[in-house]
């Protein structure tokens, strides 16, 4: 501890340089922390524990194709299935294309059974559900969506169809809270409204969602369903809801490789910048280092003091960077999350923060080690420039 003051004072030798390198590290660590958190957020999309016991059945040829509604009867008959429901992506716009949010034509009764964790978290009462069920032009919306547009129960929402040639006016009957912010940026209205207004959707639907008793049964059930409809006019593709969600993430490209690539580039940049700065800082003190060693400071101790400087400097940058990322998380959820729905759940996990701090610590050690090693291995007399 008696050397801490010495280390801290050494860092004040060139305040401008210390401030610049601190800022560089802070911004770099901020970037790395945000990128890594982005990765864990996207990873969570495909590892949602509440989705693990749900199976999605859709047309094998893609989401643009629809399946016969008659499939529902077969799906419900399967012994593994607890509840079954169906959804159709509506893709309606509210006033302006920039007001993007997910909206579905859904079965008003079974929706709450299949997604009971999500709706259960909001404390939606049976009376509220019945209000929605009774009103054919009723809809339910998530809390964050309601907050965003200032909606309240009873308000009428005009939706302009972009896929289907209808523009329903929907009355809000329920505002629910989800277990995650991304679950609240959604609107469901009665499937019948779509089916009755659009002739080509009569007896057709985009996806079935099945809730099973036991998640372990999903692979067997999935295979059975797909085999049953193999070689039919509408073949199916059954997959877990997590895998279904992951397919949307994958549409963004190989995000993981891109993020890890950028992270590696940033880390190498920090390493080079810090090593350059520490190298200059240490080289400027060649004589001082020689004086310390002449006084009796062992090589290992001098090396530790120099490494301590590097670690404290980079560590402080790391803490500031992670802190900044933590402060920015809310802004990312609201700002970027409005355009990329998955990012509404953007969260900095403690494990991610610790990982980034750990990486920063290692970078601090690595970047200081070589110049410190070279400086402490130089003969004292050479450092003193005193060969007579």
């Amino acid at each position: 501890m008696k050397y801490v003051r010495f280390i801290l004072k050494s860092l004040t030798r060139s305040k401008r340089r210390t401030l610049l390198i601190l800022s560089t590290i802070t911004l770099s660590v901020f970037l790395v922390t945000v990128l890594q958190s982005l990765l864990t957020t996207l990873d969570a999309v495909s590892n949602n524990p509440t989705s693990s016991n749900r199976l999605v059945v859709r047309h094998k040829s893609g989401l643009a194709q629809v399946l016969p509604m008659s499939y529902l009867a077969y799906l419900k008959q399967q012994p593994e299935v607890e509840f079954a429901t169906y959804l159709q992506w509506f893709g309606g716009q509210y006033k302006d294309p920039s007001n993007f949010f997910a909206n579905f034509a859904s079965d008003e009764t079974t929706l709450f059974q299949v997604f009971k964790e999500e709706f259960g978290a909001s404390g939606v009462t049976e009376d509220q559900i019945q209000d929605f069920v009774r009103d054919g032009s009723g809809c339910i919306v998530g809390q964050s969506l309601a907050d965003k547009f200032g909606w309240k129960v009873g308000d009428v929402i005009p939706l302009q169809g972009t896929i289907f040639p209808i523009s329903p006016r929907l009355t809000i009957r329920v505002i629910f809270k989800g277990t995650k912010p991304s679950q609240e940026n959604v609107l469901h209205f009665h499937y019948k409204l779509l089916e009755e207004s659009v002739p080509r959707m009569k007896g057709k639907v985009g996806t079935f969602f099945l809730r099973v008793h036991n998640a372990d049964e999903i692979p067997r059930l999935s295979a059975r369903i797909d085999n049953h409809y193999a070689n039919s006019a509408s073949e199916t593709l059954s997959e877990t809801e997590n895998a279904f969600n992951l397919s949307f993430v994958k549409m963004l490209g190989n995000i993981s490789a891109i993020i890890q690539g950028i992270t590696a580039a940033v880390l190498v940049a920090i390493l080079i910048v810090t090593a350059g700065t520490m190298s200059t800082a240490i080289r400027e003190r060649t004589t001082e280092i020689a004086v310390l060693r002449a006084m009796g400071f062992r090589t290992g101790l001098v090396m530790s003091l120099l490494l301590g400087e590097g670690v404290i400097l980079v560590g402080a940058g790391g803490i500031f960077g992670v802190g900044l990322a933590s402060l920015a998380a809310g802004g990312i959820r609201k700002g970027v999350g409005a355009s990329v729905p998955f990012l509404e759940d953007f969260t900095l996990l403690p494990s991610t923060m610790l990982l980034c701090l750990g990486i920063t610590f290692v970078v601090g050690l690595l970047s200081t080690f070589i110049p410190a090693y070279q400086a402490t291995r130089r003969p004292i007399t050479e450092g003193l420039r005193s060969i007579g």
Partner: protein
């Protein structure tokens, strides 16, 4: 030269040099700097090492102070054969036995006078309070007790050198080595520093070995050792 430079004529030899040689290598070319240096210096002596540039006086001082190693010969200082000590042992030995005074003071610019003087004590088991008391004591000895919180840039050259002297003696070493200690000072400050070093020798019994070109500085010593081209030339007793 061989024999004993028994300047003070009392006490045992604190420095014993036997056939000391030192060479530097430039690629495959050996450049001898010192050859056959062979003498003793008694405890409590005050010696000036003199000679023209390149005569090897600073190299010899560095060997005696344990910051360089000879390429030949035996070197016993303060009771230790320095060739037998490894680097860490040598560092501990320097901390316990040698105080350094440099031409350019070599104070740490980001530390106050107090903190600069305290540095060698950080290596000792002394408590914070003991260190503070000891630092205040030596700063008072060099008449800088009122400047202990000043940084080197806030001190004159003479004051900086006095801080450096305080740093050199704070660990109560047996031997003080100084390389051109007045080389960067004006006449008045140089005189103050030389008087202070003389007091350390007479009042505190410190053995002092100083490398200097300055005849006035050399005159404060009791003996002058002259080197020429890496070999001993002569010893001169200073007449006062």
């Amino acid at each position: 030269m061989n024999g004993t430079l028994n300047g003070s004529m009392n006490g045992d030899a604190i420095i014993k040099l036997r056939n000391i040689a030192k060479s530097y290598w430039r690629e495959t070319l050996e450049i001898p700097v010192l050859q056959g240096i062979d003498f003793d210096i008694p405890k409590g002596g005050y010696y000036a090492l003199m000679g023209p540039s390149g005569s090897g006086k600073t190299t010899l001082l560095n060997l005696i102070a344990g910051i360089d190693r000879p390429t030949g010969g035996s070197l016993e200082v303060c009771g230790y054969e320095l060739n037998d000590l490894d680097d860490d042992e040598l560092a501990a030995w320097r901390n316990a036995h040698v105080g350094f005074i440099f031409q350019n003071y070599n104070l740490i610019p980001v530390l106050t006078a107090f903190e600069n003087v305290e540095l060698p004590l950080l290596l000792t088991p002394m408590s914070r309070r003991e260190r503070r008391e000891r630092v205040e004591e030596v700063l008072a000895l060099v008449n800088l007790e009122d400047r202990m919180l000043n940084y080197p840039r806030q001190l004159s050259g003479g004051q900086e050198q006095r801080v450096a002297i305080a740093r050199a003696i704070v660990g109560d070493p047996d031997l003080l080595v100084a390389d051109e200690p007045t080389g960067a000072l004006d006449h008045q400050n140089a005189e103050e520093v030389l008087n202070l070093m003389a007091r350390l020798n007479t009042d505190m019994g410190k053995t002092i070995l100083v490398v200097t070109h300055d005849p006035k500085a050399a005159h404060h010593a009791r003996f002058q050792i002259h080197l020429d081209k890496g070999v001993f030339d002569k010893t001169v007793e200073v007449n006062r």
